[in-house]
Structures are given as structure tokens and as C-alpha cells.
Amino acid sequence: MAKRQDNEGEGLSQEKQGGLISKGIKAGVKLLVFKEKTPVDNFILEGVDERKQEERREEEDVAAVHTAKDDKTGEKARANKGKLRQKKSKKCKKPMRVKRLSEQKGPITLDNLLVSPELKVNKEYLETIFSLPENKDFVLRDFKIFSDKPTAAFALFMEGMADRSTINEGVLKPLMLLDGGQDSSNDVTGIKMAEYIKERVVYGNQVDIIEKYEDIVEKVNYGGTAVFIDGCPRCILVETKGWDRRPIGKSETEQIIWGPHEAFNETLRSNTGLIRKSIRNTNLMTELIKVGVQNRTDAAVMYMKNIANPRLVEEVKRRIEAVKSDYVGESGMLEQFIEDHPFMPVPQILATERPDRVVTYILEGKVAILIDGNPHVLIVPTTFFSLLQTSEDYYLRLPYGNILRVLRVGAMFIATTLPAVYVAITTFHQEMIPTDLILAIAAARETVPLPTVVEVFMMEFAFELIREAGLRVPGVIGNTLGIVGALILGQAAVQAGIVSPILIIIVAVTGLASFTIPNYSMAFALRGIRFAFTALAAVFGFLGVSAAFFVILTSLASMKSFGVPLLVPKGPKTKTESDVVLRGPVWSMEERPDYLDTLNRRRQPRISRKWTVESGKRGDDN
């Protein structure tokens, strides 16, 4: 690099030359001199440290106590637990002064704002926060609580997010009609009133009594209904979530033939439900973390408490919590925020939309990250080999599953190297292939005016065009486009003498092979790598191909996914349960992956098929 810049400098005029050269040298030296990377807080998954684990347990206990006080409903307890911890770490040093509305000056901020006992004040306040009545999404319903002395109240909810009938039947109806029963004492006022309503009046299955505006806004934004009562310095929040959602459908991007077909949809709670449906175990933890500064989307971190390495869980939560960005509402975006090597082509986090796959990984000791509004679930840590696997591999009998696996590994090599090998052989190493074949290739190329490389790049580009166009085009003409594209590319290009027929085969096989890669990101990575391979092959022949292989392999070997090397269990060799490319029988997979360093290593006893050793109870041989 330095040399090249020197040469450039020589060509220029004399007076400029000196400056340029020194600049060039500086730049060159900068490039050549080894620079230490800026230290990053790297996470390495090691053995579980006993001491730290104890500390953590204590911490958890504290949190549990807090949550027990706060609320009894399970879900919110977990959510609050996360929040509590967050608060604890952030705000324990400097306790903020709690402000009342009367003290409020200047523009209203949500921080530490509390509900006022006066209904009017609350109303004004909410009108400012939600920009009522300009903001039409929020509905403020005034009513009077039916009791001996009717009390003014209002309910606030969001149109479209909250379920209409639930609000009517579960919130407004009991409050307006049914209260004032015989044992209601008239002197119930203030906070006690809220308690009373929560305990005896409102039907909602999740009812909270909240003091802070921060929490109220968040709940209302997520479909809750807030009820404010005159004279009560608390707000009653009823869970009335209910919006239009896509039903659970078939998996579109990871289709299999054998096994369950259901896929995640866009609702976080039904997604967690799908997982919990398969793992009926109280050790399955779901921790909710808010991501995105503006959108505050829920991200759920799911893992097995008794299996997953606590340090791994901690790291996952640390990374998600540390993401500060306006909008993180999609698992792909979150993936980019928390992955280890953003510039490497190969993905380090596995995304799947199949609950059965997530379940197997969670039971293996990995951690799943679900994001609300997204059907794709992230699995960490991920290994390179799991990117080439599908759940069907495990469901099928051993020989069939292995056939699929071998096929897919072959496809991976074809998808990355076939065009490169073709270019290298036809332009550099013609002696490598049989005479008949080279003569056939030569004959096919006889009419082609372009060099092989140009030909290959042209066809590859055209193929990518078909793929992309088929994806973007409206569904109705999508199929036609594929046929037209294939016809035009295949038949016409050959007849026009622009490309050789053999190349069509090469490109088609490469395309087919890249479609067999089950992971979408991985398929992308291989497509990108393929072009690099082809370019290198065109310039350097097989030397280029092998150099590219070298670079790819070394960079793969250097990559990590949440503290676990990407090529494990082969990169650093670890103990493995014969499930890398080929897999062993399901009953032989006795231990969880070594690299995860799980709390509970054994997956099944050494003899899991007990019937093989049961004495005296053998079935008849015939």
C-alpha cells in the first residue's frame, strides 16, 4: 500500500511531491504498523464461578422479595423484577426527589411523576401527555361510579389496542352499575377506594394499582385501561389488551415435511405461549426487557433456569439492556445490535420461526430472545454447524436425517465454490478435466464473444435478479416471472450466443444448492462469498480459490457467538455428541453440548432405552 502511494506521488509536480510523499508514507506506516484494538468488554463463557453464582442468587432473592411485595400476578412479577434490577443498578446512588404536580414547573416530564388525588389535575395532566383531544387514538371516557355518593371518574384507553368488549363488560359495567352492593361502606375513599375496587369490583384478570405516570403511560400504550377516580391518588390499571393479530400459521421460511408445522406469529405472548406449551416446566424462565428508547418494545429472554449457564443469561440480558436506540422493534435489528462481529458475512445468531426448534435449543441450554411483533426468534449462542441444520434432521430416522445433512454440506460447497472452480478450471487448469469435457466446453464457448469470467458474472447477476425480482414482485405475477426469467436466461441467452450452455448448468446448480441452505442469513452469506471466490478464481486460478478458503476458514475460526467460538465443536475441539455434520442416534445424545457449560450436563442416562436391559420382561422374539 505504501509503495503504491509512493508511485502515485512521483507522477505529480515537484513542489507537491514532498508533501504527498510524506503523507503517503504516513498513511502507509499507519496501515503497516500493528495497532492494538480498542479494548472492548469481551465476554467469554467460562466455567461457572461458584462465588459469583452465590452472589447472583442473593441478588435474585432480593428481587424476588421485591416482586412479591409488588404484585402477585406472575407475568408482571417477572417484568417488574427485570425493571427493579435495572433501577437498582442505575439509581441506587442518587435517590431522586419525587415531584408532585403542584411542584411541577416548565414542560412536563414523565420521570417520577405521581398521580394526583384531584381528578381534574389528573385529566389535565393526561391531556398534556397524550395530546388530547388532538391525538385521536386515545379515548378518555368520563363516568360516575355508582355508589351511595356517586364519584366522578374517567377511563383512558387506546383505540385499536384495547379490547372493546372487555372494557365495556369488565371495567365500565361493574363500575357504573354493579357497585353499591350491600356491604360497601360509604367511607371508602382515597387509596382504600382503589383497593376496594380492585378487590371487589373490576373483573379484569390483571389489575394493578399504580402511582407513577411513567408506568401508566407504558401500560396504556400497550392496550391497558387506566381508571382514575376523584380523590384517589392512585390509578387502577386493568389489562384489556386486544388487537387484531395474525393467527398461528404454517412456517413459511423453514418448511419441513415431517414434524410440527406451526410457526411463531407477531404476538409476543402467543409466541412465549407456544414455547411454554412444549416445555411444561416451571424452570422455564421468561424475562421481559424493554428495548428501543421510543418504541419500548418488549423483548423476552427465555431459558431453562436449571440448565442454562447463568453467566450466559446475564450476558444476553446485559447486551439487550445496553442497547440504546430510538427504534429496535425487529429481531433482525436487535441481532445487529447485539452480535459480536457485525462486518463478518456469516451470521452469529440463529433466527428461526419454528417453536419446535427454539424448544430444542432452550433445552440444550441456549437462550432464546423473542421480540414483540416479530415471528423470528433469536437463539444464542449459535455454532456454524447449526446454521446448516433443520429440525427435520432430528425427526427423521437416523439414515434419512444423515442423508439430508450430507446433501446440505455438499450443497454448501457447491453454492460457494462451483462457479469459482469452473472459472479456475476453464481459464487456468484445463489439463484437470477429461479431454472430451474440455472439448465440449471449448465447443460451447466457440460462439461466445466474452471471457469466461464476464460470462459467469453476468449469469450470476442475472440469476440474482430473478431471485430478487421474484421476491419483490406482487404475488400474482411472481410465478410467471420465475418461468419467464428462467426461459429468457437459459434458452435465449444460449441461442443468442452470449453464454455457453454449460455455464447455464453451472449457474442453475449453484442456485439450487444455495436454496437448500436452511438458514436465510447463511444463504445470503454464501451468496456473497461466492462472488468473492469467483473473482479470485478469475484472477489467480485455484491459488485464489484456496486463498479465499484460507481467509474464510481463519475468519470463521476467529469468530465468536456470545462467548462460544463459531466453529465449536470442531474449531476448538470440544467433547461432542456426534452431532456436527452427521448425527448419531437420538438415544446416544446423552450430554448437552460441552461448549455451553450448562448447569445440568446430562440430557439422558447412559442407557436411555431402558427396555433393552429390562430383565425377564423381554418381548417375544417372533
Partner: protein
């Protein structure tokens, strides 16, 4: 940083020899003759690439698929360069399948033509090296394969035929180059030639002679009509790097039996009980590798060797209809066949000892282990002593299959 390093490594070490397939002229075979105006005349057979669908525009299937050019030059590669003065494509030997030298060249010494072939990285060492009894140019020109699309493939299949016939020996550059410079063996080269549809002049009178001469032929002697004009049968015996003599097809099959290269061949034996007009046709295959027994007798410098061949037979035809496969008759037949083959093999050995004085069987290699140093072995000069050694061939033949009819 990393990329700069890698790139410079690639640039300095990269192979900058990108060549498109349609810029190359692939030489399929080349022939070497004595030159008239210069030292040698080299004939190249260059492939014309043809698409598999058989010529879309032409419609005719019988398009020429190769051209033959001859150049006179001082050396092989000189000729290759000179040929590019009128051949538009860069000639390359990377797909060359056979090198054919004429009898004249072979008598003069093949070493100086083998050496560049072995040294060149374009030529594979398993390229066929062949001797033709006429002009190499004529042979290359005559080789217009009918069944195959290119001449290289034709050679490959023709010479691969040695797996089922006995009269074509293995003849690749690597082996020949090694044996030419070996102290324990002499080189042999497969013999090829052009047959101009020459039929036998007159029918031979004797039935026995006809049977015996079934494969005892040289190129240009095969009684046939039609087909590709070239044929491969028999071998050329070299003394050092000079042509010494020939073995015909039948002798070649015995030669291969003794060296162990033999795979299988079909022999016609006169019926021992009805010798006139009746044959027993047997496919003979190699059972095991031949066993060599070396005996250095007291006081004698030259050892005596005993070669035991283990062969197997499959009866294809017994024209007389006698039931040889039944009972003790089978044993008798086996012994008869073994005797017959042994005498044939011994005749070939006698011929190489007396007439040719060349140890083409590589018997010397079996003696090497009796010498402590290479120098001793070299000084022993086995190739000179071979004619005076005593070699005896024994044959063990077992009939494995008798065919379906009884």
C-alpha cells in the same frame, strides 16, 4: 492490513496464465518422424471442438473433428512453436494422449525424444508412447475415429482394451522411460500401424497353422475390412533406447502373462482328441500374480529362474462336443491347456534370449535382492547375462467355469 498482505502474496505468487478454452488448440496426439529438411518432422493432431448436439447448423454428423498438421524442426518443442506460425490457436500438449514414433526414429534411439516428454509439465507421464512400423505422420493422419468424437478418447479406449485382449501391452511414457534407463529390464513399446484393408493374400493350407496364427500378427496384418484404419497389436522390443525387434500379438500375450500385466485373453486350442477341424475356445484370465523362484547354483554366475503362472480358464466353446468338463476329463483338459500355454511362454522366452537378447520381462528386478549394493548390481550387468540364464515357465491352470451347456 491483512488484505494488503494477502493480496501481495497472491500477486507475487499467482499463476498469471489465464487462457480461455477457445484460445487454445488442444493437441490430441503427435507423431515424430525423420525430417527431410530439418532434423525431425512432427505431426500434430489438433482437436476441433464440437458441441455435443452434433453440429446444429451443419446437420451432417460426419464433420471432421480434428486437423492434422506437420512441421519440420530441430526439436519437439521447436516444432510446437513453429506450428503456431500457421495454426491460429496456441497449441498445448496438456490434453495430448499419445506420442507415436516411427520405426526409423526408434532404431536410432528414443531417449532424446522421451526426455523432453518426461521433463515437460504439460505432458502427463501416463501418456501413451507407441511405435508404428510405417511413418508416424501416416499413422496420425489415418487415425480418424468413427465411434469416438475425438482421437484422444479413441486411443485411450483402444489401448484400454488390453484388459480383455492379450495382444496389447501397457505402454506409457513413465514405464518406458524407467525401463530404458534400468539395469534390470529392457523397454517395450506397444506396436501400432495403419491397415489399408489388406486381406491375407491366400488362404493358408494347414488348419493347425491357421489356428496358431489367429493373433500372431503384426499391425497391418490383421485380416479385416472397414473401421478405423489404425490398429494396435504386438510390441516393439528395445535394447537400451534402440529398437531391437518385434513380438507379435500372441507372443505379446505370453509376455504379459510372465510379467503379471496379463488380465485376460481368448485362446483357441486344437481339440486334443480331434485335432483336425475342432477347437476348444477358452478365455484365460490371471488367477494370481506369477511366482518367481531364483536359484543361484554353486559355481555358476548366472542363476536359473522358474516362473509359475497361476491362470484360470472359462470354457467358451468345445466344437467337438466331447464332454471335457465331466469327471477326470476336466483334469486332463486343464493339464493339456497348461502344457500348451507353457510351451508358448517358453518359446517367447527363448526368442527373447536367443534372437533378441533382451530381458523385457524385468526378470532382473527379481535378482536385485541378491546384491548388497547398487554398485554390485550394476557391475553384475544382468542384461548382458540374460541370454545365458536358464528360465523355465510352468503353468497352473484351473477351469473355473465350464459354460452353461453340458
Amino acid at each position: 492490513m491483512l488484505f494488503v498482505c494477502l493480496f501481495s502474496i497472491l500477486i507475487t505468487a499467482g499463476c498469471w496464465g489465464a487462457r480461455e478454452t477457445d484460445e487454445m488448440g488442444y493437441v490430441l496426439s503427435l507423431g515424430i518422424d525423420q525430417g527431410v529438411e530439418n532434423v525431425i518432422q512432427v505431426t500434430f493432431q489438433i482437436a476441433i471442438p464440437q458441441s455435443p448436439e452434433g453440429g446444429g447448423g451443419g446437420g451432417g454428423g460426419d464433420k471432421e473433428n480434428n486437423i492434422v498438421v506437420s512441421v519440420e524442426a530441430a526439436s519437439l518443442f521447436g516444432a510446437l512453436q513453429l506450428a503456431n506460425s500457421f495454426v491460429s490457436r496456441e497449441l498445448t500438449l496438456i490434453h495430448n494422449r499419445a506420442v507415436i514414433v516411427s520405426e526409423e526414429i526408434a532404431r536410432e534411439g528414443i531417449n532424446k525424444y522421451l526426455e523432453p516428454l518426461v521433463r515437460s509439465r504439460e505432458i502427463r507421464r501416463n501418456t501413451f508412447f507407441l511405435v508404428t512400423r510405417g511413418m508416424a505422420k501416416e499413422f496420425v493422419e489415418s487415425n480418424q475415429p468413427l465411434l469416438e468424437r475425438n482421437a484422444a478418447r479413441d486411443f485411450e479406449l483402444l489401448l484400454a482394451g488390453r484388459k480383455v485382449v492379450g495382444f496389447i501391452p501397457n505402454s506409457i511414457i513413465n514405464d518406458i522411460h524407467r525401463s530404458v534407463n534400468d539395469y534390470g529390464r529392457e523397454a517395450i513399446v506397444a506396436l501400432v500401424g495403419v491397415n489399408n484393408d489388406k486381406k491375407g493374400e491366400e488362404k493358408q493350407e494347414d488348419y493347425q497353422t491357421m489356428v496358431k496364427s489367429e493373433t500372431a500378427l503384426f499391425p497391418n496384418e490383421v485380416p479385416r475390412e472397414g473401421g478405423n484404419k489404425i490398429e494396435a497389436i504386438g510390441l516393439a522390443v528395445f535394447h537400451g533406447d534402440r529398437l531391437k525387434g518385434y513380438l507379435n500379438g500372441l507372443e505379446t500375450s505370453y509376455y504379459q502373462m510372465i510379467t503379471g500385466d496379463f488380465r485376460s485373453a481368448i485362446y483357441s486350442f486344437p481339440d486334443p482328441e480331434k485335432p483336425d477341424g475342432h477347437l476348444i475356445v477358452v478365455r484365460v484370465t490371471k488367477g494370481r500374480n506369477p511366482q518367481f523362484k531364483v536359484v543361484f547354483e554353486e559355481g555358476k554366475v548366472v542363476p536359473s529362474l522358474e516362473v509359475t503362472l497361476a491362470l484360470e480358464g472359462e470354457i467358451l466353446s468345445i466344437q467337438s462336443g466331447l464332454e471335457y468338463e465331466k469327471g477326470s476329463k476336466e483334469k486332463e483338459l486343464e493339464e493339456y491347456l497348461a502344457r500348451y500355454l507353457a510351451s508358448g511362454a517358453n518359446d517367447v522366452i527363448k526368442k527373447t534370449q536367443n534372437e533378441l537378447a533382451c530381458d523385457i520381462f524385468g526378470l532382473g528386478d527379481k535378482l536385485r535382492k541378491y546384491f548388497w549394493t547398487f554398485q554390485e548390481w550394476k557391475d553384475y550387468n544382468w542384461l548382458e547375462k540374460y541370454p545365458s540364464s536358464e528360465v523355465n515357465v510352468k503353468v497352473n491352470l484351473i477351469i473355473r467355469r465350464t459354460g452353461l451347456s453340458s
